[in-house]
């Protein structure tokens, strides 16, 4: 079993599309063996080539603000102020309640 070089917790092995990756059970850092990053990159580009058939590319949305990092589960369209009066009112209530 591999020990994390950063926090020394135990690392667990996962298989992602045939690529073995080690993830630390403590700090959640990921360790890639030689060639694994290249394998993941190759898988990603294969995916990107396949994707347009299933999902036609949408025109890029106008960006009023610089993009900010978001979590993996974040909304696909960071909107904010789009939507009608009702939505604004409902969000206004949410901003002020526990």
């Amino acid at each position: 079993m591999i020990q994390c070089p950063k926090c020394h917790a135990q690392m667990n092995t996962y298989n992602r599309n045939g690529v073995q990756i080690e993830q630390c059970s403590g700090c959640r850092g990921i360790f890639l063996d030689y060639g694994e990053l290249e394998s993941l990159t190759r898988l990603e580009s294969q995916w990107a080539q396949q994707a347009p058939q299933a999902y036609p590319a949408a025109p890029p949305a106008p960006q009023a603000y610089p993009a900010a990092p978001a979590p993996a589960w974040g909304a696909p369209h960071q909107g904010g102020h789009h939507g009608g009066h009702h939505r604004q009112k409902s969000f206004g209530r949410m901003l002020f309640s526990s």
């Binding site: 990092p69 978001a70 589960w73 974040g74 949410m94 002020f96």
Partner: protein, 320 residues
């Protein structure tokens, strides 16, 4: 709104405190600012009387009121006025505290909300060493209660499934089942930050201060950033507003997130917890009103669906 004995008693207390000894006056009738099981708040002129939740523990509340009175928190927390019967008083079995009135954020103009000031107040609060022993910050307990209320309001309803699944994916400390990891614990936290928790005092142009200390205590400071983070992640808060808040917090030296780079290693767990809490309350409220969740509430529920579908090994157990 029906006038309850608690509301009447609070109105009298606030009024008497506003000008003790006067026999006749031309004061406007007391104004109910909030009337919920977790807090009834009535204003008379410059004084606000608050009856705390019936299950709030008097020693914990006393420690929180003492915190607001501590010189270390001056300019951060609004201090209470001396309580009617010595600290703290009681009405209808609920503990009562008195506060100076402050001007709240204009609910009709959230864009003009003091996001930067809120962030700086939080950073200063989180950086302040606790002046005396305090109870744990109440955020995780509040989230757990929201989930329990949702389950009670919608028994057997499949709509709760994604919210519950997102909840079960959280580590025990975020569900109030175990203490927060040591290196993240022990910071002074507000515990229930939203835009209703800021007032200008003295009214109307004084500096912004944090109010409502019922959930204040020691814990992971990231919890205080979690609600705006959850709104941003769900697609409700514009990224520009989120960055104004986050950057101000970082510039003020707030310890909840790393100073530079991706802040989400420190925010992921707590933002998921607040997403669950908000979605749970939305499902509870909409069930009570016999309606479907509205568009905004649905965005929080949709975020729970995405959280629930994440592979467990890609969800960070704990922040850096």
């Amino acid at each position: 709104m029906t006038t309850t004995p608690v509301v009447r008693a609070l109105g009298d207390l606030a009024h008497d405190s506003a000008h003790a000894g006067a026999t006749a006056c031309a004061c406007a009738p007391p104004q109910v600012l909030a009337d919920r099981p977790d807090g009834t708040v009535v204003r008379s002129g410059p004084v606000v009387a608050k009856a705390h939740a019936s299950d709030s523990e008097p020693p914990a509340l006393a420690a929180r009121l003492a915190l607001a009175a501590s010189p270390r928190l001056e300019g951060i927390l609004l201090p209470a006025l001396p309580a009617p019967d010595g600290p703290p008083g009681s009405t209808e079995g609920r503990t009562v505290s008195l506060w100076p009135y402050g001007t709240p954020v204009d609910p009709s103009d959230p864009d003009a909300a003091p996001w930067e000031e809120a962030a700086v107040l939080l950073a200063r609060l989180h950086r302040t060493p606790p002046p005396h022993p305090l109870p744990p910050m109440g955020g995780p307990v509040k989230a757990a209660r929201a989930v329990a209320r949702m389950c009670a309001a919608r028994p057997g309803d499949p709509a709760v499934a994604p919210v519950l699944a997102a909840w079960r994916g959280l580590p025990g400390w975020a569900r109030a089942e175990s203490p927060a990891p040591g290196h993240r614990n022990g910071f002074l936290c507000h515990g229930d930050l939203h835009l209703g928790q800021l007032v200008r005092h003295p009214a109307r142009d004084g500096p912004w201060l944090l109010i409502d200390l019922d959930d204040t205590g020691l814990g992971d400071p990231a919890w205080d950033l979690a609600r705006p983070a959850a709104w941003y992640a769900a697609g409700l808060l514009p990224s520009g507003t989120w960055l104004r808040f986050l950057d101000s917090y970082r510039a003020a030296g707030g310890p909840a997130v790393r100073a530079e780079g991706d802040p989400w290693s420190g925010l992921d767990v707590v933002a998921r917890a607040l997403t669950v809490q908000t979605a749970a309350l939305a499902l509870t409220k909409s069930a009570a009103e016999d309606r479907s969740p509205d568009e905004v509430e649905q965005l929080m529920i949709d975020a729970c669906v995405r959280i629930a579908s994440l592979p467990p090994e890609l969800v960070s157990e704990r922040a850096s």
